[in-house]
Amino acid sequence: MASPKSRPRDGYPGRALSLILVIMVALVATMVGTGNIKPRLGIDLAGGTSVTLQATSSDKNAINPANMGIASGIMRDRVNGTGVTEATVQVQGNDEIVVNVPKGTSSTQLATELAQTAKLYFRPVLAEQQQVNAASLPKSSASPSASSSGGAKPSGSASPAASSSGKPKASGSGAAAAPSASKTQGDALSQDLKASSSASAKASASASAHASSSAAAAGTPKAAATPSAVPTTGTVAGQLGGTVPAALQQQFNAIDCTTNAGRLAAQNAANNAHETDQVVSCSTTAGSSGAWTKYALDKVAVDGTSISKAQANLSTQTGQWEVDLSFNSHGSSQFAAITGQLAKNQTPTNEFAIQLDGLVQSSPYVSNAITGGQATISGSFDQASATSLANVLSYGSLPLNFKQLEVVTVSPELGGSQLDAGLIAGLIGLILVVLYSLVYYRGLGLVAVASLLVSAILTWSLMSLLGGAIGFALNLPAVCGAIVAIGITADSFVVYFERVRDELREGATLRPAVRNAWPRARRTILVSDFVSFLAAAVLYFFTVGKVQGFAFTLGLTTLLDVVVVFLFTKPLMTLLARRNFFNSGHPWSGLSPERLGVRNPLRDSRGSRRPVRPTAGKEA
């Protein structure tokens, strides 16, 4: 220690040792306190499904952290929507999203769904119909629906409206054009509120006749006819026949939105359809009454990519949560045209559906043409549902496609056996290193073993804590990194021990040898650890996935190596050098001058004639 004069030349070994002890105790206590006593295991060790998706885009700048964040939020919703628990969705690197679904739900199906390109469209509603699964039909919900079943009265004017997109752009009418959309279908969180309020909102906004029909569920006929979720045809089909093309009509009848399979079929069909096709679609969630909504939708009126911004706001006027939308210039003219057209229609054809990934997220109605490219969707949102819809809408403005890079499902058996193999390998590696240290360094080997132990405790507790804090998951390459790091950690001790021995060979006694070996050993350790850490850091920032996990572990252990050498190994050596066992050069201490081959350890004469090197002469 290059110390100021006031410090003892040995430094304060006791303080350093107590410091690292305190750190260790604190880490372990936090670990136990927060319940993260084991590192979180990655999919390849614990079993489960992992999907890696890569964003692609024609616009390079579109792949940015903000957009990736929104996209991963949507992915999370998608995964959770399938009923999977404990799934994690993480942005990885610049352009990748990793979805990890823990064991239990082996689902390559999920992977396929996730990889699908998310597309957000505004489509005018041609017809809508609510469906209730008889099995899940609550008693109460049946009664209001009895009144009318699917009062969809298509106007026929919807499709011309959509095609007239290039029409006059209301220029001067101000960006503050009346926001007049309300929500009929939406997010699960406040569905009950919305369902009721949308009905009332509609009633107040336009003809009161809508109220009953839009809220109506075709529950009764269905419940009677098909107790086990079979497509509802019958009464509704007849009413839609006039405006829906025959092909769509058949599809409309065939689809059952109350079952997962039915929704998936509808979703796939809608996803495969072209923008100019008319499609059948399901609502993404069921209402409080358990009613799902089935839609017949017109071709795309406004593409989601026309949205420039979507944000959830607390309205200062009404005190309600709402979603503000801005369109780009192209989108705002399209939106003005379509809303102008829709506003003339009757429910439900005055609605447009916000369709994400083939499912209808929300279908607000319109009472006025919305010009100026600004719109507000209001209804009975709470903060969460407003934010969620805003995210969905923002997603539409993401010009991102996702490509499936890797899908892995690992059975728990395979994961377990990989974990075992990793642990066994680590244990054997550790034992080999310990044996080598003990055989070669004897007493000093014990110092090495103790240091490795400290290092292991620190690594374990940090990994466990990081699992809880930043979602660090230990995967197989990370285990591998930890095992490889045993070598790096041990190397530092070798560097130090060899320096001490060099000092002894030069005739120093142990205490000064331990002290004087340190500055040079410290330098070597720092330089080489820096190189090692640099490699890990570069790998971490330039790579993704498995490599990143590996780099992280390597970097962490390299840092810990420095900590351990400075705060543990060196002070411990200093203390041990005071002990007679080491200081007297006991044969088992690993520091015996005789064993080191120093024949005359206590040569006199200051100025130290150090061992003569005949090297050059001999070789010349």
Partner: protein, 373 residues
């Protein structure tokens, strides 16, 4: 053990010495032959890229009792040809069967999993799947390559700063040497290259340099005040430094290799193919090459570069003169006066810290620290 320790001591004092630096030509030939073989292998045979680079699916069946023939048949039924590759591997919990299906078959992983589980009579969650797009491996290698370039630039700058550019160059050459050899071994032997292999390659970066840095650290201090004497040329001093730190180099290499060897043994012996095996194999080859290159490539190369510097040319000239004089003196039967100047540069010359402090010292302490400055 004590003999081992003795060797350490004798190496340190120079009683025993291996001429690493002087055998520059030998190392050049050895490395050259290996490098040519590696590059030839790489260009002629190419790398055996795993399914991660070609795209496709890997199904892992862990249930005991399924035979390879059954699995092959089931896979053939799935692909309607016999393109599927079926292998066995020993897992920690019994035998595993790996079925690899190329992405050219265009089989949906879900379908594949379902079909295989049906035809083998397993439940779906007894089959692990891994489906990889063809770009996955390419992608990860691309990023790894970017990282590699950045790392090399950074580390060269750092070493040039911490030591000097000649040493940085030597380290860089040693690093490239290790990488090419490792990749070449992969090409020649035909080991499969997977993402684990890429990780292994990348780790060699850190390790190869770790070794080299440890050696250079000794080298730097050994050659600190070299021009103030006339007994040792730069190469001699470098060689002496290598020898005095040889035990340390060997120990660090052995300790680094031990855990990797354990990984390789477990990965190869118990688990069969897999990430552990791939990483450790690449590491094992790379570390071995690294141990060799830090001693036999990096240092001789640095010595060669340094010997071209005017001051060391001058030094070499002086040393030659002196030796000629010595030889002459020996021939004439008298000894040249002393070797005092040599003691000044005894290797490794200590540097740093506390030794120059005018504090109270015991005699032995003074001897070990005070007198060297």
């Amino acid at each position: 053990m004590s003999r081992f320790g003795n060797i350490g001591h004798r190496l340190y004092t120079g009683e025993v010495s291996f001429d690493f630096v002087g055998r520059r030509r030998l190392w050049t030939i050895i490395s050259g032959v290996i490098l040519v073989a590696a590059i030839l292998g790489l260009s002629v045979r190419g790398l055996n890229l795993g399914i991660e680079f070609k795209g496709g699916q890997i199904y892992t069946v862990t249930k005991p009792g399924v035979t390879v023939a059954q699995a092959q048949k089931a896979a053939n039924d799935l692909t309607h040809d016999s393109s599927a590759l079926v292998q066995t591997a020993n897992g920690a919990k019994g035998e595993q069967i790996l079925i690899q299906i190329s992405s050219a078959e265009k089989i949906d992983p879900t379908t594949g999993q379902n079909t295989l589980s049906q035809s083998l009579g397993l439940s779906q969650n007894q089959i692990s799947t891994q489906s990889l797009s063809a770009s996955w491996g390419h992608d990860i290698s691309q990023k790894a390559l970017e990282g590699l370039v950045v790392f090399m630039v950074l580390v060269t700058l750092y070493l040039a700063f911490a030591f000097e550019w000649r040493l940085a160059l030597g380290a860089l050459v040693a690093l490239l040497h290790d990488l090419v050899i490792t990749v070449g071994v992969y090409a020649l032997v035909g080991f499969e290259v997977t993402s684990g292999t890429v990780i292994g390659f990348l780790t060699i970066l850190g390790y190869s340099l770790y070794d080299t840095v440890v050696v250079f650290d000794g080298l730097k201090s050994a050659t600190n005040k070299l021009t103030k004497q006339n007994k040792l040329t730069y190469s001699d001093a470098a060689n002496a430094s290598l020898n005095s730190t040889l035990v340390r180099s060997i120990n660090t290499s052995v300790l680094a290799l031990l855990p990797v060897a354990a990984l390789l043994f477990i990965g190869g012996g118990l688990l069969g193919a897999g990430v552990l095996n791939d990483i450790s194999l690449a590491l094992f080859v790379g570390l071995t090459a690294g141990a060799y290159s830090s001693i036999c490539v990096a240092t001789p190369m640095v010595a060669w570069l340094q010997e071209k510097r005017p001051e060391y040319i001058e030094l070499a000239r002086k040393v030659k003169q002196r030796r000629a004089a010595e030889a002459k003196a020996a021939a004439e039967g008298r000894t040249l006066e002393d070797d005092a100047p040599q003691a000044e540069v005894t290797v490794p010359a200590p540097t740093g810290g506390p030794r120059n402090q005018p504090v109270n010292r015991t005699r032995s302490e003074r001897r070990s620290s005070g007198g060297r400055r």
